[in-house]
Amino acid sequence: MAAPLRSRAPRARREPRLAPILAALLVPLLLVLAACGPSSVVPTPPPDATSSTGPATTATPAAATSTPAPTFPLTLTDDEGTAVAVPSKPQRIVSLTPAATETLFAIGAGDRVVAKVEDIAAYPPEAGDLPVVATFEGVDVEQIVALEADLVVAGGLFFTPPDAITQLRGLGIPVIVLYAESVEQALAGIQAIGDAAGASEAAATLVASMRADFDAIAAATAGLDRPVTFYELDATSKIYTVPAGSLYAEMLELAGADPVTTDDSYEISLEELLAADPEVILLGDDADYTTAADVAARPGWGDITAVREGNVIPVEDYVLVTRPGPRLADGLRALVEALHPEALD
């Protein structure tokens, strides 16, 4: 390492500054780019591009109204605040969330669905044969284009990769992005799918019946004791449970529980869990591979009230608890059955 010797002498001459050089390089380039403008470089999109909405566009507020039925072309605002133009009643719909698949079939638009996302708990059976164009790993945009999709229902909060949404929209395919952080938002999402698919009335009927279901269940659990409940998503290495303010937490509260929640992330420490000392442990997303005996055998868990009193209960149909589709009330019912089995009699 003789290098330092050589370089000490000219120390007075400091290294030049990088910022002016970078600026000198970047500014002209950006000016050139700005001058070109994106439109001159991008090939012309297909004729039915979303940008070219007709002059007589009827603006329909998303999901808010159920009557009168919107007419096409229509523009609706999705859960990310994007105004999405749907030029005509969609005939070739691609569903990129399991909930949207269920919803489309429930509102009678199932025969217009041409492809779906992979679904570990596929429902309804009629959707079973649909080609799968998206998995956890990603979305096959080529396939969606080849299927001539004229409406794509995607999941927000990174469920559908944002890049894929950008790409599909860039190709002129209308994409509505939905997610549900509350029961109300789930119902609004169902209505939005109905509006976009040209089945507003069926969606409104479905939403009304779901609302009645929710009200009935909530009424049945209203006066009951609210056990401190730990809803377990996974505890194979770290312990994961539901964040406060999430759809999970709201569902648990509606089911008559006082859920142990995290502030923001899904992770909870064993210390916090022991301090909360839940009276009930519900095995949620890990119900398929975890038993009450497993829970009792975990080091440190034996002193939790729920474990001592044998209140470690697997949730049947845990998939439905946060699937914001037509069976969301069934998810609530599954929670109530685990927590207050007597309430539903």
Partner: protein
């Protein structure tokens, strides 16, 4: 590292074999042929089967303006022109740019382990992307989201900070740069880990950015990234003489009339710019920027004038080929493919290089 030695020109000279002078041309021709094959194959293959005849017809009609009556579905045309073409071209530009930037960093730092990410660009971009995922803004500018914008700024910002910090202190500029780069990268990596911890459902998005890929390519994005990468790479290639001088050592370079400090700063800026634009559009794809320049040097010797353009061609072919393989294997991360293809190829060349090899 042996800072004293550094005479690499001798390596090329030592091989007094006949025909060596013609070798770069042969390598260039072979590289371009490889690139052409990779491009065509990359356009022909994908998850939707389009007959090769249709693919050629679509390309002929849309690119060459030939008067061919379409016998194919309109969707095939969209897939070929708007999905696959921008994808292979993005892979080409990014691969070429990373290879040139890698060669430049290796030369500037006189370190064979240097790659385009060595001075913090990777960790800066990764942190930028991760922070973007935490910010609930979904605006798009020129088809780029906040993630790409912050990744670009993060990459440039990291190099800028590394360079600023390394100007202070007594050790040699190169050593100082490398060590500062390492320190700053570690710090940024801590930030990345924190951001990933906080990201919740966005973790998958961050992860997919870290793995890199070209599946999200579009004309709009290519139109922004390609000029940046191409011009920065061209700028580096035009400064091959300075880079050659630097490889001989600072003193020797000064004797050759190279203003080492100025040239180093310009080359660093250009290489960082190319890298930042590349990682903004495609995420972090390793190995091409490290290996492509070495492979070229093993074949034609260390003269930067030759190495830089050839590295661009090889990097481009390697990346297009790797992306094609990644696609055919079911959209696996392209970085996995670049490493799986690149590492054995590199090792084989290294074993065959009997003359020994030094940067």
């Amino acid at each position: 590292m042996s800072p004293g030695s550094a005479i690499l020109a001798t390596r090329a000279g030592s091989a007094g074999r006949s025909g060596l002078a013609r070798r770069p041309v042969a390598v260039a021709v072979a590289g371009l042929a490889l690139l052409a094959v990779a491009l065509v194959a990359g356009i022909a293959a994908g998850s939707v089967t389009i007959p090769p005849g249709d693919t050629l017809g679509i390309l002929g009609r849309r690119l060459l303006g030939l008067d061919i009556a379409p016998t194919w579905a309109a969707t095939s045309e969209t897939i070929v022109i708007d999905l696959r073409l921008p994808r292979v071209l993005t892979a080409m530009v990014v691969g070429g740019g990373l290879a040139v930037a890698g060669a430049a960093f290796q030369g500037i730092l006189r370190n064979p382990l240097a790659d385009p990410y060595v001075l913090g660009t990777a960790s800066g971009a990764a942190l930028g992307a991760a922070v973007a995922v935490l910010i609930p803004v979904r605006a798009l500018v020129l088809e780029f989201g906040l993630l790409h914008g912050l990744a670009f700024l993060g990459a440039l910002g990291a190099v800028f900070v590394v360079y600023r910090l390394s100007r202070v202190g007594a050790s040699s500029p190169m050593t100082s740069l490398l060590l500062t780069g390492y320190a700053v990268s570690s710090l940024l990596a801590a930030g990345l880990a924190m951001a990933m911890y906080l990201s919740g459902a966005g973790l998958r998005q961050i992860f997919s950015y870290l793995l890199g890929g070209f599946d999200a390519s579009s004309w709009g994005r290519l139109a922004v990234a390609a000029p940046l990468i191409a011009l920065a790479s061209l700028g580096i290639i035009l400064r091959a003489r300075a880079l050659n001088g630097m490889l001989l050592g600072e003193e020797a370079a000064s004797h050759l009339g190279v203003d080492v400090r100025r040239e180093r700063a310009i080359l660093l800026a250009l290489a960082s710019l190319a890298t930042a634009a590349a990682v903004a559009v495609s995420g972090l794809i390793g190995f091409v920027g490290l290996v492509a320049p070495h492979v070229v040097r093993l074949m034609v010797g260390p003269n930067a004038r030759v190495v830089l353009p050839l590295a661009a061609i090889l990097g481009a072919s390697l990346m297009v080929g790797a992306d094609l393989a990644a696609r055919l294997l079911g959209e696996i991360p392209v970085g996995v493919v670049t490493a799986v293809i690149g590492a054995p190829f590199f090792l084989a060349l290294l074993r065959r290089a009997r003359t020994g090899y030094e940067l």
